[in-house]
Symmetry: none
Subunit: 191 residues, 4 copies
DNA sequence: GATGAATGAGTGTTCATTCAT
DNA sequence: AATGAATGAACACTCATTCAT
């Protein structure tokens, strides 16, 4: 970890990159532009990130990590399962709705050849606590006895699609709708 | 008379492009390579597709259309709703599993800035029949009274996630699993 | 001269080329466009002109020849020198003003590397009668005893510049102005 | 600090471009070749000139400006009109003869669609002092009362044609000839 | 002769990365 | 560490010319 200390600059670069990707899209992300937006010289970028690929991978992981940790903040191991589940589910939806931009970025990069196998694995790793939580639900006989990744997909898939519709402006996700969606989610996985 | 314009070439170009995108990923798709893979001169490509963007957009739509039409093939308006629904659902899953490559391509491009608004709209349009079908289910009081796009997302999301896990080799989707997934899908949207 | 007989087509091609050069300028003259403008297939162009260079050279010579012959039409060997001179001078000005487009084309190509030495020589050759005429003037002691090409340049230069100003719309060349210009021309070369 | 932006490079690029245009002609001027001739990487060219068009326009203006300023160097407002006029005229001829290459370049580009309206206007602007000078001659009743641009054309036209003949090697412009030419010029415009 | 689809060498320009300062 | 000028490989696209029909 002989990374230079100025963690603040790293954050600035992340912000600049994110902004540019959201503005000009994935292609068209130019290192020179990132530097300019971050108020740095091009060369400085390369002090903090070995190359473009690394920047993107680290940003991706950074965002994914933040999002996941934020989601898990509401987790209270002492809650009954269904309560905890709903808290998590709602929290995830709210986070996704609150920062559609970050989500959009994640989506945009998820299927890109820029992302390293390693990055993807590390990112998946972040969901471990969630998987454990679901496992406990299975143990308790509350949810279907299926591979946890499958269950996770079952839960994440619809949420992502719904959020997409939301910032598509195809429809607006109201509190009431959230309740409906939650019910659907629960109906689909409950034992 | 000059050589007649060979419409078959378009198909050849589609195949070559698809192959290359799957091999080398989205970035790194070079027109020269497409031409070579299609056994054409670079310039010939530009006779059939005005530029790289157009090629990608048209291929995207082409694949999406094929997939959707194939899915709808099994639709029989005289079937009872649930029968028809299951047929369609299963068919979609099977198609997705059968040609993961094409699906992967679609995924890869869906979030790309390469895709035109127009292409996306046209592609969404393809799902109209499905939306109508779901509407009829709502009318009959069989499924939840929610916006059809939302319901669609509720159905597609999990399938896509599951298929991803499948060609990730994280897990194998067996016939039995399909039945389970179907049940979950149905449980989630049924009235 | 195994040139195909359809002289008419050649004329059509000339017209189309001229039109395009004037519209889109010298660069940007594309053979395919010429063909289209002439209502021919690209390949047909190559039946009549071996290549782009030849087309341009022949068109240049064609225009120059036409212009020169037209100018000489008014020449009457029985006229007294000054009368003949004025007739020719006026005629040249009028032709230049009447078809500024053709003149513009000629100008545009004159300094181009597209023009062959041969074409330039042939074109210069066209002025032979004029040179002879000027020689006779020298013999008669009416005009300065200087190389005829120099005298020609002395005459053509100002006319071309004046015509440029005219279709520049910097000024309008009226009949009266023509008389003034003629006087200046004559004053400059008269013995 | 990075290497300071070397303004001298602009001059080097100008020289290289000029050289190449004179060698290989207007078409066939390739940016890669310019770079090589200037001992730079292709990309470096684009740091100093946004694109080929800009390079050409700026070079054109640069040369025209140099030539004009050089001509005006001999101008002394205290000289009597005719003295000043002859000085300027002779100076212009000498400059044109001394650097035929630059002149050739200017000619070569003057009628090209590469030149922007703006460049042409700016270039014309350079002649303003000359026009003023001619105006003063008109005021003094020494030269014909005609639009100055017309008078300028009357003067420049023959000079350019004569110089062309010179480096055509059609004839040699000796000192004596210069005197003759000057006389002709003066005869043509004097009141 | 006529056609226009096919060709592919050629070119302007970009942009990730390096490196002299 | 920071800078930003310099680099040059890479790439989309063009267009004069050919040639199968």
């Amino acid at each position: 970890m002989s990374r230079p200390r100025d963690e603040n600059k790293i954050e600035v670069i992340y912000e600049a990159t994110l902004k540019l990707v959201l503005e000009t899209g994935f292609n068209g992300l130019k290192m020179a532009d990132v530097a300019k937006a971050a108020n740095l010289a091009t060369g400085t970028l390369y002090i903090y990130f070995k190359n473009k690929g690394v920047l993107i991978n680290e940003l991706y992981y950074h965002l994914k990590k933040n999002k996941t940790l934020k989601m898990l903040e509401v987790f209270d191991a002492t809650d009954p399962f269904l309560i905890a589940f709903k808290k998590l589910w709602m929290n995830y939806v709210n986070i996704s709705l609150a920062e559609p931009e970050r989500l959009k970025f994640i989506e945009q990069y998820t299927h890109t050849s820029y992302l390293t196998k390693k990055t993807i694995q590390q990112s998946d790793q972040l969901l471990k606590p969630l998987e454990d939580f679901l496992s406990s639900g299975i143990m308790l006989g509350l949810i279907k006895q299926l591979p946890v990744q499958l269950l996770l997909g079952q839960l994440m898939g619809p949420i992502n699609e719904s959020v997409k519709l939301h910032y598509n402006e195809t429809l607006k996700i109201t509190s009431q709708l959230k309740e409906e969606l939650f019910e659907m989610a629960w109906n689909s996985i409950k034992a």
